[in-house]
Chain length 355, copies 2
């Protein structure tokens, strides 16, 4: 294990969206500088970063200069091209590690990894072609969801099958991309565990939050989740098992379905997670600082919940509600400074403290 990064050092962050923005603020709180790497111009994170490189992920010179300017590298999203990682990793440490990225970049690899750990997932099958889908529907049945193995988020790259007749359209929707069929899981609620593991192997989990989605995008996370004490313990132990198996350093979001047969892992994200935004107003040390602490080789901070919170995403026209929300008691606003309001675009979130 390496020495803790001294305050004043620079943390490189791949991705300049809202997660990179909030990571950058957390890093500053510990006295670190940040350098953002982002292909898009004027990213939200640049407003609160020491430096920002605007360059593509296949720009070897820019990647090299970026890596040389920082002490350690982390990221706000998991779909970083392998070739970029090869360049960066040769120059500076990257946390969370390559194995965590490899697992989470491919839904099939991820499911195989999770079931290999003895954890429950939805029934699934590899779907390289239409024939495989026909065969898989025979065992998994409908309703089911066909998902691209790679590069999906917020419900994108997914096709729902209510009957076998939907199979041709679903295959067309995948546009030739390798896919995975997931069977239907009859769950009561979805919860997520935001788990952190330090470089020295300590694990700390925030209280599980209960998630509600709308149109495939997270709508609210409520803490505490309606979980029995034993399921809460199961959730936390399960998350710790995943982190340990990956020798993981950083924060991970673990989405779980609560079913009559126990917890089923929906998916894992090797980064800070939208369902952990409540920690900003519920804990002394939020998920962003916890991630920075881990990446910097620092001890984990105090993630004990001091307040119950309902986090709600502000999406697209929800921004029209900001004046009212700003005047509402027990309400903490977090806006991302994005110039253009677009339907489905995450513009901010609000944490309501429940007293």
């Amino acid at each position: 294990m390496t020495d803790p990064l001294p305050t004043g050092a620079t943390i490189g962050i791949l991705g300049g969206g809202q997660l990179g923005r909030m990571l950058s603020v957390a890093a500053a709180r510990l006295g670190f500088k940040t350098h953002i790497y982002e292909p898009g111009a004027n990213p939200p994170a640049a407003d609160v970063a020491h430096a920002c490189t605007t360059a593509a992920y296949d720009d070897a010179a820019a990647l090299t200069a970026f890596a040389q300017s920082v002490n350690v590298i982390t990221y706000e999203f998991e779909n970083i091209p392998t070739a970029a990682l090869d360049i960066l990793e040769a120059l500076k440490p990257i946390h969370p590690n390559r194995e965590a990225l490899r697992i989470s970049q491919d839904r099939l690899t991820e499911k195989d990894f999770l079931t290999g750990l003895g954890l429950q997932t939805a029934p699934y099958a590899d779907i390289p072609d239409a024939d495989a889908l026909t065969a898989a529907l025979g065992t998994i049945g409908t309703p089911a969801i066909l998902k691209t193995r790679r590069f999906g988020y917020d419900g994108k790259g997914q096709a729902r099958l209510m009957s076998d007749a939907d199979a041709p359209q679903a295959i067309t929707d995948m546009a030739g991309a390798p896919a995975l069929l997931e069977g239907f899981v009859d769950f009561s609620i979805e919860v997520s565990v935001i788990a952190a593991r330090s470089a020295s192997g300590d694990v700390a989990c925030y209280d599980p939050g209960e998630n509600i989605h709308r149109d495939g995008i997270l709508h609210t996370t409520t803490v505490p989740a309606r979980l029995s004490a034993s399921l809460r313990t199961d959730a936390v132990l399960l998350a710790a098992r995943i982190l340990n198996a990956l020798d993981y350093v950083g924060v991970m979001g673990v989405e779980l379905f609560v079913t009559p047969s126990g917890l089923i892992v929906n998916e894992v994200a090797p980064r800070v997670h939208n369902s952990g935004h409540w920690t900003q107003n519920g804990c002394a040390v939020d998920q962003f600082e916890q991630h920075i602490r881990a990446v910097a080789g620092w001890p984990l901070g105090d993630g004990q919940r001091h307040s119950d919170v309902v986090m709600e995403n502000l999406i697209g026209d929800d921004m029209d509600r900001v004046p009212d929300l700003a005047a509402t008691r027990d309400t903490a606003l977090h806006l991302y400074g994005k110039a253009d309001v677009k339907p489905g675009r995450k513009m901010g979130h609000v944490n309501r403290i429940v007293r």
Copy 2:
């Protein structure tokens, strides 16, 4: 009253120290960009700001360009030269207003203002020269403190008089600057009220904190302060009276002595205040965001205390304690990213949550 500043607008901040840095983070949280104006190179605030101008306060061209690039102007310190304010104010609104700056830039004007409002202060006298000091010592007595009327902070520009014999040295210490003699106040504790007033005239105060100084620099602030309910109410009403009298917009720090004859105003600062740093971990909306909300014409936020907090400043070599503090429960670190550790320099602070 003007319309609320829309998210995405730019707030100009005069001064790039730790207060400007934390104001900048708070502004970003509401989706604002910030532009820092600071004579010193690489100021702490620049790490978390959209833009930073490095120029002197007598650089008219730089001041003009700065003002033209922002929507509204605020500041982290009160000693802004009048000529600079003249240039800036002709171009963009400045909050808090000129009157608040005029009052707080001069200890004599401030005392006259406070006593004019019917508030109690320490006994004081204008000391233009040595003869005036001799006369004032006759009425005020010793111990007493001779202070420069302008540009003092953290105990600088002050001379303590234990007897009349200290007068010549004290006059020498002032180096010809206009000064003020303050009589000794026999107080049990010092508290401060962090008060905010919005553009529409709403006033909100945080719970008073109890301050302990070391070597003339704030050491700790503990919330709640040991105040009776009636004194707590007095403190808040008194702060509100000051804000209303000034038609003030923003956050003000009001330092009070608790004495047998009630509350005595020590001094006011027309800005966010070191004794309000506890709000970062004690409230949903901290003093920095409250200030930004006021300056931007937004409604004030929720400053209710959810946790008891002890704030401790990290000064100079206190930075050696950071590794231990980082591993301590119920502890939130806030470091300023200053490159050089110097004796007496504020390097960060720590908020301990008391459960």
